[in-house]
């Protein structure tokens, strides 16, 4: 039992959730979206700053949520930096497949392999939406929508 839980709540996840990176609204924001999980009431706002070439120069977030959703959001902001919208979208798809158990591997770049620490979520189907909330907000922001929901 402890093993499954340790797999879910790895040190890296606890660290990101306690000390979230890129937390808070940056001064310059190109696009942003509000993510909401109606099942638990958690919210995450994702802020993106894009350069003239369409690369994500900075990603940040704000919100209230569980350790899984906060850690996932925190890691997201580190990993989409320097990516195009298409690359960020591709990362979201492979991350989604990972946490739903559709795939074992991320097939992403080395940096993005960090997301493997969230693979333990697949053993907890009720928590998949926690892990993907910020990613849904990211998708919405990149598409120019302002709201995203996990439902």
């Amino acid at each position: 039992m402890q093993d499954t839980l340790r797999e879910l709540y790895q040190e890296v996840i606890l660290d990101h959730s306690k000390h979230p990176r890129n937390f808070g609204r940056p001064e310059t924001v190109t696009c942003e979206a509000h993510g909401y999980n109606p099942l638990c009431g958690d919210t995450i706002d994702v802020f993106l700053t894009l350069n003239e070439n369409g690369l994500i120069e900075k990603a940040a977030f704000e919100g209230k949520g569980c350790a899984i959703s906060m850690a996932s959001a925190s890691m997201l902001t580190e990993l989409v930096k320097g990516k195009t919208a298409d690359e960020a979208h591709a990362l979201f798809r492979s991350f989604h497949d990972l946490v739903t158990g559709a795939t074992e591997e991320l097939g992403a770049d080395e940096e993005a392999e960090k997301l493997m620490v969230l693979a333990g979520v697949k053993a907890f189907p009720m928590r998949v939406k926690c892990a993907t909330l910020s990613w849904h907000a990211l998708e919405a922001a990149l598409k120019g929508n302002h709201e995203a929901t996990t439902e």
Partner: protein, 410 residues
């Protein structure tokens, strides 16, 4: 009747087959009866027997099984009437659940009585099912919804209620017991004050029915609603008690078979009594199960159930208070056996996942009571809700699992 020997908890637990199951290889600690209660064997047997031996549609067959089925279904109505002490069988309407019962009243009473500018008075303690149907009715009629505030302990503020109860108030709808924090609302006083001004009152009894004996005439409620699955009966059955004087005036909610007197394409006349509000084939077997569940609770005895649950509440409150990081939300003087809490820096969803691995089932989330969560400025809480089959060991298991949560996040 006044046998005050304590509840034989081990015998009670044997009545519920689910307690023979394990969860993640652990003893099941079921503390989520506020969401839905487990079922005693007598209810499962009654359901099985109804399908296996006497099943047919009700009210419309002259054949043997249809008569048997009708007798059992209507027998359940008699059981509910007697249990609630309603004045007549026509005052007992079977619905799908509490939600449908409230939607029925909000829609039908709304069409009968609501006019632009009218007010519907609720409270901050309400479940979404006693908020949203009223918002829909208000929107149709051009009326507004107001809510009686509570204090930090979760007490219903009677003085504020009396101030809000005004000439525009057309109906009051409040919960008997808060599903999220356990506050017992002094509904008798609520009803009396409304009646002094000629205003009818609906009471949401979803959380009260498993814990206390309710006499609708003694309370004076115009409408009293509850759901079967929280009183150890199957899902898919609920009850609307309504005073005849209202039900006779109110228009039908849904149209269909069984609710008519005579149908022609030009003009249909409606059935009277409870039939007017029971369109279509009803949840026959679920109602039979509900009747059996009510008999079961009465055979255990509500005095004993209440005494047992209050001792569980006191013990759970005491043990949880010993944990420094735990903050109990809602500390009303009169509370049902429901404990809602949060932990410093640890999200309820993480708590729920971790305690589940110890076989402890609690509800985490907003409990369909977001206005109440907003009042306490928390997105969600952990809720342990108790029923007659819980024991002190369940509370020890909860506390041990909470201590493990602390270790994880320590």
């Amino acid at each position: 009747m006044n046998d005050m020997t304590p509840l034989d908890i081990e015998r009670i637990r044997k009545d519920f087959p689910i307690f023979g199951e394990t969860v993640h290889g652990k003893r099941l600690t079921y503390l989520d009866s506020g969401a839905s209660a487990q079922k005693p064997k007598v209810v499962l047997d009654a359901v099985h027997k109804a399908y296996a031996e006497t099943y047919a549609n009700v009210h419309r067959g002259v054949h043997y099984l249809s008569q048997q089925s009708t007798e059992l279904y209507e027998g359940a109505r008699k059981t509910v009437r007697a249990h609630l002490n309603a004045a007549s069988l026509d005052e007992i309407i079977f619905t799908k659940n509490t939600t449908e019962a409230i939607n029925l009243v909000a829609d039908s009473f709304g069409r009968l009585a609501l006019e632009p500018g009218d007010e519907i008075l609720l409270s901050y303690l309400e479940h979404h099912s006693n908020i949203v149907p009223w918002q829909l009715a208000a929107e149709k009629a051009g009326a507004t919804v107001k809510a009686v505030p509570i204090d930090e302990n979760g007490e219903f503020l009677m003085e504020e209620y009396l101030k809000l109860l005004g000439p525009k108030t057309k109906i009051v709808a409040v919960t008997h017991i808060s599903n999220a924090i356990g506050t017992i609302v002094p509904v008798k006083d609520v009803i009396r004050a409304a009646h002094d001004k000629g205003i009818p009152v609906l009471i949401d009894g979803s959380q009260a029915m498993p814990h206390m004996k309710v006499d609708v005439q003694e309370l004076g409620a115009d409408f009293y609603v509850f759901t079967g699955h929280k009183v150890f009966a199957p899902t898919g059955i609920g009850v609307l008690y309504g005073k005849s004087e209202w039900l006779e005036k109110m228009p039908p909610y849904q149209g269909g078979g069984d609710m008519i007197n005579r149908v022609t394409f030009e003009k249909t006349t409606y059935a009277t009594g409870h039939s007017k509000f029971e369109a279509g084939t009803p949840p026959i077997v679920q109602a039979i199960g509900l009747g059996t569940a009510i008999d079961y609770m009465n055979s255990v005895g509500f005095d004993k159930i209440a005494a047992h649950e209050q001792s569980l509440l006191a013990y759970a409150t005491e043990r949880l208070r010993e944990i420094n990081s735990v903050r109990i939300i809602g500390q009303a003087r009169n509370k049902a056996a429901i404990v809602s809490f949060v932990m410093d820096g640890i999200h309820p969803h993480d708590i729920g996942t971790i305690v589940d691995q110890s076989g402890v089932a609690v509800r985490v989330g907003h409990h369909c009571a977001q206005p109440l969560m907003d009042f306490y400025d928390v997105p969600s809480t952990v809720r342990a809700s108790f029923a007659l089959y819980n024991n002190h060991e369940d509370i020890d298991a909860l506390v041990a699992s909470i201590q493990m949560v602390q270790e994880f996040f320590g």
